[in-house]
């Protein structure tokens, strides 16, 4: 199961360009295309929002945490950065108290909600690497390796989770972003399919 999270929505448009491009609109389009590509790979897909609403961070995480063996991908468009590139993030380790470190979602261990991602950092990093490789191949100028950051949305997800941020809303119109969408969807779907083998082996 892949949970796709088009970030923002509702009154929260996220990053907004001078030309009127809104992050919340673009990521919803990305998510719809990505859903098709993932389903073509034989994966089941859930979206944290289907329309212009704005679930809380925790509600979005809840969608993923309710699924066994889920993978979570939150989609963003930046305000800055080199247009036409994509960067993948996994959560930076916070080094807090020990948490359950499993390769799948255990039904017998309580996981602290606010640190739910801590047990999945290695898997998330692996997923981020696979996706970033695809992005570097498809979008010239993209980094070849993923980045870690304290991304709020990822912290409460008890599953392998990454954020993909595409640059940027500063483009004069959304045409270039629209052109990126199917390419991004194909790359992410291939990476997730490759990751699936690793992940499912751990969950079983």
């Amino acid at each position: 199961m892949v949970v796709l999270d088009p970030a923002h929505g509702g009154a929260d448009q996220g990053a907004r360009g001078e030309s009127g491009i809104a992050e919340s609109d673009i990521v919803l389009s990305f998510a719809r295309l990505l859903r098709i590509s993932l389903e073509a790979q034989g994966l089941r897909v859930l979206l944290t929002r289907q329309a212009n609403d704005d679930p809380t961070f925790d509600d979005r995480s809840k969608t993923a945490n309710a699924q066994r063996g889920a993978v979570f991908i939150t989609l963003h468009v930046s305000s800055t950065g080199k247009p036409g590139t994509a960067r993948v993030y996994s959560l930076a380790q916070d080094g807090g108290p020990p948490v359950y470190r499993g390769t799948g979602l255990s039904r017998t261990v309580l996981i602290r909600w606010d640190r739910a991602q801590q047990g999945y950092l290695d898997l998330s990093r692996k997923l981020a690497e696979l996706i970033q490789i695809q992005m570097a191949q498809r979008f010239r100028g993209s980094a070849e390796t993923p980045t870690t950051a304290a991304v709020r949305q990822l912290r409460t997800v008890a599953a392998p989770a990454v954020a993909i941020e595409v640059s940027s809303v500063s483009l004069p119109d959304r045409t270039q972003l629209d052109k990126m969408a199917p390419v991004l969807a194909d790359g992410v779907a291939r990476a997730v399919a490759a990751f699936r083998l690793v992940y499912e082996a751990g969950v079983k």
Partner: protein
């Protein structure tokens, strides 16, 4: 040509002439208004952001982290001469105010010009608490990368110039906030590398991605993490 048409053309001609005559003064008025706005911003800053000056101030070359000119998605260290206090709290305030106001150019800014440092505290365990005005949150460009660069610039500047801060908490108007501008988690603490580590070039580590930008920078990992600079910031 009918009389009505002639009248219309005459009126339009008069309007065009009037527009051409008034256009320069209109443009000047717009420029005056925008200049006034800038002045108001400066005035507000002058009132709110009182310059920090202490008896122990000594002019030193401070390492400030702003956006790189060569690679705007990364930070680079710039040495500027600043009067800095021996007291770590006052020193931190001076550095953060300078980080906001002294950027070499607008394109190198990491923090919004309207942001104000409202307070800075230092706890005995080396936890610094920086309290900023709403503008930090409202005017930082929304995005994981831009928010991370903003926090990194704060953390790395403090780390390079104040040797007692080990971790940093960022507040907005005295309150803990979920994110800086919708993405970067502000609920935790950010680890601050000591001056020697912050000033040194990032050393290669096995799992550290290599950046191709002008300068390698370390990510502000949440503070309870080991202090090894193993992460990277966007190139």
């Amino acid at each position: 040509m009918s009389r009505g048409l002639k009248t219309t053309i005459a009126i339009l001609a008069v309007l065009v002439v009037f527009g051409l005559i008034t256009l320069p003064s209109l443009r000047q008025a717009v420029q005056r208004i925008s200049a006034t706005q800038r002045t108001e911003e400066q005035a507000r800053r002058d009132v709110m952001q009182v310059p920090v000056s202490t008896p122990t101030d000594v002019k030193v070359k401070a390492q400030m982290y702003w956006l790189s000119t060569a690679s705007p998605a990364s930070l680079e260290a710039t040495a500027i001469e600043l009067p800095l206090s021996a007291d770590p709290v006052e020193r931190s305030k001076q550095l953060l105010v300078a980080l906001i106001t002294n950027a070499p150019s607008t394109s190198q800014r990491t923090l919004p010009p309207d942001a104000l440092l409202l307070a800075f505290y230092l706890q005995p365990d080396g936890t610094g608490v920086a309290d900023f005005s709403d503008a930090l949150s409202a005017e930082t460009p929304s995005g994981i990368q831009s928010e991370q660069l903003a926090v990194d610039s704060i953390v790395r500047t403090l780390g390079a110039n104040v040797n007692v801060i080990r971790q940093l908490k960022i507040l907005i108007r005295g309150q803990e906030t979920d994110t800086l501008a919708g993405h970067l988690d502000l609920s935790g603490l950010f680890s601050v590398s000591p001056p020697s580590a912050a000033a040194a070039p990032a050393s290669p580590v096995p799992d550290a991605p290599v950046t191709t930008g002008a300068v390698k920078t370390t990510t502000t990992t949440p503070a309870r993490a080991p202090l090894s600079p193993t992460k990277q910031v966007p190139q």
